[in-house]
Symmetry: C2
Subunit: 478 residues, 2 copies
């Protein structure tokens, strides 16, 4: 591996200036808190790409379509999945439970569209002992940063080619070693597949994609990159509506169940929201989800696809027999090697073993609530005292996950004009798109769709880019 670029103070200051203006000129931006709509900020970024072993990067891309298939198969075996979700609902009645009951209600009313679109992202950390990627989680709803990832890759490539990483003005990296993620286009391609399928089956009209978003979205430009790619490359326009407003703004034909927005037929409902309990703070939000779920539009994702992303499913898949059962192709060494041990803390045999581990070797684990978005993770030595502080009956609401020991890399984070130099921990996300029939399991489209590297300071345990803890980064493969 090459050494890290070292720049004089003057050259680093020039790099920051050039980076900032290139990024702003090319939409690598985000809204700050309490923003004025016409005044964005430079998105938090690293100054340099972060080193990543090529073998692990290639593996992550290779297994993307297999993960797509695996989750498609799980969704198609709805009975098995729903049994698990039903059990989970006990621990998370407010959110998982409501998603589940909304699905049941939708089924009762009738779900006219069996075809479903998944825009997925599998997140990995590089374990510094095995030097292998290990899966942190598999996201089945509202995956973000596909748009800005393309832009940060273009940024780092530009800075390198423009000679800003060296004092001589020569490139520091070989171009081939800085792969630019095609995720803005890749996610748009997935939407395009779904639109094309819908139009071929259901209509002669030109349809639109309906982005269901959060109010005051700070990460709007990440979403816009996908929207504009979809329009510029395929001529497919999108419209945007917030979750609670959608019910009052859409129209559903009671006979055909076709969905209309502002006079246009909607072929795909694309959620860039609706993934956390705080978004369902009013009955309108749940009503909206139900209304949309029972239309003919293809949902990205459906409630079932969203529910398949539960941590409990991730835990069950660490058993290779379960993977084999759902998708024999996926049960290969590459994919299985990305799993760390995950244990339930319930009354099972495995649960009993895990409870012992939690008290005897807590430093190897992180405790994660089954409940979505409703609590924080508990790390290492804090686990025993935390468990003692709650009734044992509630322990089954958590999973115990083997800690990944991420490498700490040298890099500099630029946020709000300030440089943070504390080393970075990075998380690789790999996007995948899957268009499939939930009832028959038939796969209509399955593709890898680019990647994402998010980095955060080595000291911070959690947090996304928009929340202000991390930043978008790109890969230097070696």
């Amino acid at each position: 591996m090459k050494n890290f670029p070292t720049l004089s103070e003057k050259n680093q200051s020039n790099l920051i200036h050039e980076l900032t203006q290139y990024s702003l000129a090319n939409g690598l931006i985000i809204y700050p808190p309490d923003f004025k709509e016409y005044q964005p900020n430079l998105a938090p970024v690293t100054l340099f790409p972060t080193p990543y072993p090529s073998k692990e990067f290639e593996k992550s891309i290779l297994i993307a379509t297999q993960f797509n298939s695996l989750y498609g198969s799980i969704v198609s075996e709805k009975k098995w999945l729903m049994e698990i979700i039903k059990d989970l609902s006990v621990f998370d009645s407010d959110f998982t439970g409501k998603l589940y009951s909304t699905h049941l209600e939708a089924e009762k009313q009738g779900i006219p569209q069996p075809v479903s679109l998944g825009l997925f992202r599998s997140d990995y950390m590089l374990d510094n002992i095995s030097n292998e990627i290990k899966q942190v989680e598999f996201n089945t709803v509202s995956v973000s940063f596909g748009g800005l990832s393309t832009k940060v890759g273009q940024l780092h490539s530009f800075l390198n080619n423009y000679g800003l990483y060296t004092s001589s003005g020569a490139p520091y990296y070989k171009s081939d070693d800085l792969p630019v993620s095609d995720s803005a286009n890749g996610l748009a391609d997935g939407l395009h597949q779904a639109v094309t399928y819908y139009e071929s089956k259901h209509t002669d009209a030109k349809t639109i994609v309906l982005f269901v978003i959060q109010p005051n979205e700070r990460n709007a430009f990440d979403q816009r990159a996908v929207e504009y790619s979809l329009y510029q490359r395929y001529g497919i326009p999108s419209k945007r509506v917030t979750l609670p407003e959608a019910t009052s703004k859409v129209k559903v034909d009671p006979t055909t169940k076709k969905l209309y927005f502002d006079g246009s037929e909607v072929s795909v409902v694309y959620y860039r929201s609706a993934y956390g309990p705080q978004e369902y703070d009013c009955q309108e939000a749940w009503d909206c989800r139900l209304v949309l779920e029972t239309t003919l539009a293809i949902k990205c994702p459906s409630l079932v696809v969203q529910l398949s992303g539960a941590k409990k499913i991730q835990q069950l898949l660490t058993d290779s027999a379960t993977v084999s059962r759902f998708s024999p192709d996926a049960a290969n060494e590459d994919l299985l090697s990305t799993f760390v041990k995950i244990y339930p803390l319930d009354d099972s045999e495995s649960g009993a073993y895990a409870k012992k581990l939690a008290f005897e070797q807590p430093h190897l684990f992180v405790l994660k609530p089954q409940r979505e978005g409703g609590g924080n993770n508990v790390y290492k030595e804090d686990i025993p005292s935390f468990l003692k502080s709650i009734p044992e009956a509630e322990w089954a609401g958590f999973i115990l996950m083997e800690l990944i020991n991420p490498s700490i890399n040298k890099n500099l984070i630029l946020r709000n004009g300030e440089i943070i130099d504390e080393g970075v921990i990075s998380e690789l996300g790999v996007f995948g798109t899957l268009l499939f029939n939930e009832e028959t399991g038939e796969v209509l489209h399955n593709a890898a769709a680019g990647h994402l590297l998010r980095s955060k300071t080595a000291s911070s345990n959690e947090g996304g880019v928009a929340a202000g803890f991390g930043c978008v980064d790109s890969l230097y493969i070696h």
Copy 2:
């Protein structure tokens, strides 16, 4: 002509939202006063394109290369030009005089590069009586908004195609009626021609373009659009330096007179500064201009080319015999029809006539100082009292220019999130690029390079976009 789009309050508010995010995502931005570098603003823009008669627009493009030739010829007849500039220096010793004496000093030291690049912009207003374009001025230095003009054209086309100008979602305009200016690329093409010429004649090295800019440039993203086009399309990198700093940062080989910046050979010095007296507030700025002028790099523009943009030259060209003398091709009806009457206020016969006009029919005129950037225009009825307030000997420091009566069009300006609905007056700029030998007059490249429409509220007499009075706009040709 079609009616102007009328939108409901809801649709207009949606249009503003979509316009804002598309613009920010695509770099249609500007820094506000007292900016933080990582936080730009949406550039002031119109919501809609402004109607423009196609015949006049086509004419403006057609005559662009003829204006290039004309100014190239004037520069090549240096003796004639310098006599005029010498006379002008009396009225503007601080600026025109200093530019002139700096040129003389450069000539004394030796100007090794006879080839010169002009990136010009001819500005017109549409006279609402004749319905013809009339030239406001011909700019020979640091012409701006070529970058943002392309972006505002793309913006208005996008909004139209995306169906945001109608309640039905259909386009309001025919695509062909919304010409997108190719000026970002056009200006880059001019620079590319100069770089290629320099490299073919003088070096085997890969050279750079040196942008000489103002400190704390608010309009940086307009310049960046040209820079990135030049790099992305031709692989030619640029570097940036401020005017007073350049002397200490460049190196000149005393033998070859080659110019180097940060270790790179500079083929073209591109001024996006150096056009107003307030920029030369220290001797370093003048020194810098002299140092650069006497290098082998191609200047865009040279001091002589810059001086050819004096209002006095514009006045002299209103005589068709003068045009014929310099460029017989340019002395055609189309080009000559763009001139309004311009009179000197000196001791000539024409001057005596003009003095009479100034007092008898002041409402038809604007009084403009010969002095560059050093005073304000005086309009209509204010002219007599103004002239009386200064000694008659100083009157020759002004020209009397026939007022153009611009059409007022309906349009809405969006600035800092607020809509201004007062009608707009628009100025059409047409870019041209000319690479030529100042000594022989040989033309190496001559092209039209896109256009620009700037609009301002009907009530404001003056002011550019960055100054906060106007905004970037695009054409709807009809």
